[in-house]
Symmetry: C2
Subunit: 107 residues, 2 copies
DNA sequence: TATAAGGTTCGATAAAATTCGAACGTACTA
DNA sequence: TAGTACGTTCGAATTTTATCGAACCTTATA
């Protein structure tokens, strides 16, 4: 069996390229892209309810997508006990992937 | 059954966001990302054999990935009869997705 | 012309991602 | 304390992608 790590080493991909790939995979889904674009177009530092993006899916699905976005570092999760908020990791992203936010801002 | 078009309209995604999604999907695969990053890091206007990227897959698979990259407009295909060359659509991409190339250049 | 080399398409199989209901945990609140 | 609201996790089903061999087409060349 061939896993992705093997493919990556086969192809001599840089660490940066692997990190970039994770980000691209996370963005390559209509709901997740919309969430990130919406957060980008919000004012800086904005925190949003997970339910405020107009996603018409089961809550298990929503939870899945937000976890994925959090795992790759696109958002951070603010736990407020009863509910939770999502926040774009703006500075960190600008630092690690300069230009990414500007690229998505127009979309 | 729910297809992607329905999801996109459900979510009120802009045309630009749909176009961006196609690009992100195309880049969200290790081989395809490597191809594009390699082309970006080549000199401007460079044309490369499809076999010159060190991809260890069957030719049917290679053909599949290059077709996908061509279909979303990331590369153009120069047919030389016996063989074919791939070329980054640099200016067009810079025009439609400003900052994309610079974002991937570091990777 | 025959042969080889490179690329595409087709059909089938394998792998990965998406989706959801159900069960569960945690924190508000009546 | 009991009930409710919100989120996560688990397991299973569905859908999408990736992969490859085989057949085929086109062009160069022996």
């Amino acid at each position: 069996m061939v896993n992705e790590t093997d493919i990556n080493t086969d192809m001599n991909q840089s660490t940066k390229q692997v990190a970039m790939l994770a980000i691209l995979k996370a963005l390559a889904h209509p709901m997740r892209l919309k969430i990130i674009v919406d957060l980008i177009n919000d004012e800086e530092g904005a925190e949003r309810h997970c339910t405020s993006f107009g996603l018409t899916v089961a809550k298990a699905t929503r939870s899945h997508h937000f976890k994925l976005l959090k795992d790759v570092g696109l958002i951070s999760h603010i736990d407020k006990g009863n509910h939770s908020l999502a926040k774009l990791r703006r500075e960190e992203l600008e630092e690690e992937f300069p230009g990414l936010i500007r690229l998505l801002k127009n979309a």
